[in-house]
Amino acid sequence: EAGVAQSPRYKIIEKRQSVAFWCNPISGHATLYWYQQILGQGPKLLIQFQNNGVVDDSQLPKDRFSAERLKGVDSTLKIQPAKLEDSAVYLCASSYAGPNEQFFGPGTRLTVL
């Protein structure tokens, strides 16, 4: 069974630029999560999708971050414009049902200069 795929694995941009991350969840998993993991901290949920609908985006900085899952399968997370404090690893996870069995992708490490 293929795992959660993410790309790119690494990205370096300058502040005020835009960036997008892609995630392909495990086949059949209806729930998809995006987490932000700042160095030295645990992952923090940014947004949760159930199929193509948003369940929770309360921690998403909506002035600069956006995410979509148009066909209920893969998802993109965008930052525009990026700030220095956005430097982090962005993790995507998926689950078949509920939060108790989440499978994580390898993450995208973003560095904002």
């Binding site: 999560y33 030295g40 645990g42 949920l45 993790l91 996870a93 939060p99 989440q102 993450g107």
Partner: protein
């Protein structure tokens, strides 16, 4: 509100020695608890989870954890560590829809 506290940010231990990584939780409702491991430049992998039933939970790679309701703890243990156990370990609990992670404990196994 759900939260977890990992009391140690770093734990060095010699190879083949036992280790305990501490985690305390705070919740006013039923709680589900997890331990995840993160190897360098990789995503998180589930080690074990407590949902209900036996308070002693066995996971992968020889790890186990004990749910202690009176002490609100869910400490992770391994009787004999290997070099390959060097990684970051995260305790987590679930709220209504998602996971809340602790700040992590870096386990370093010394040869």
């Amino acid at each position: 509100a759900q939260s977890v506290t990992q009391l140690d940010s770093q734990v060095p231990v010699f190879e083949e020695a036992p280790v305990e990584l501490r985690c305390n939780y705070s919740s006013s409702v039923s709680v589900y608890l997890f331990w995840y491991v993160q190897y360098p430049n990789q995503g998180l992998q589930l080690l074990l989870k407590y949902l209900s039933g036996s308070t002693l939970v066995k996971g992968i790679n020889g790890f186990e954890a004990e749910f202690n309701k009176s002490q609100t703890s869910f400490h992770l243990r391994k009787p004999s560590v290997h070099i390959s156990d060097t990684a970051e370990y995260f305790c987590a609990s679930t709220g209504a829809n998602n996971l809340f992670f602790g700040t992590g404990t870096r386990l370093t196994v010394i040869p």
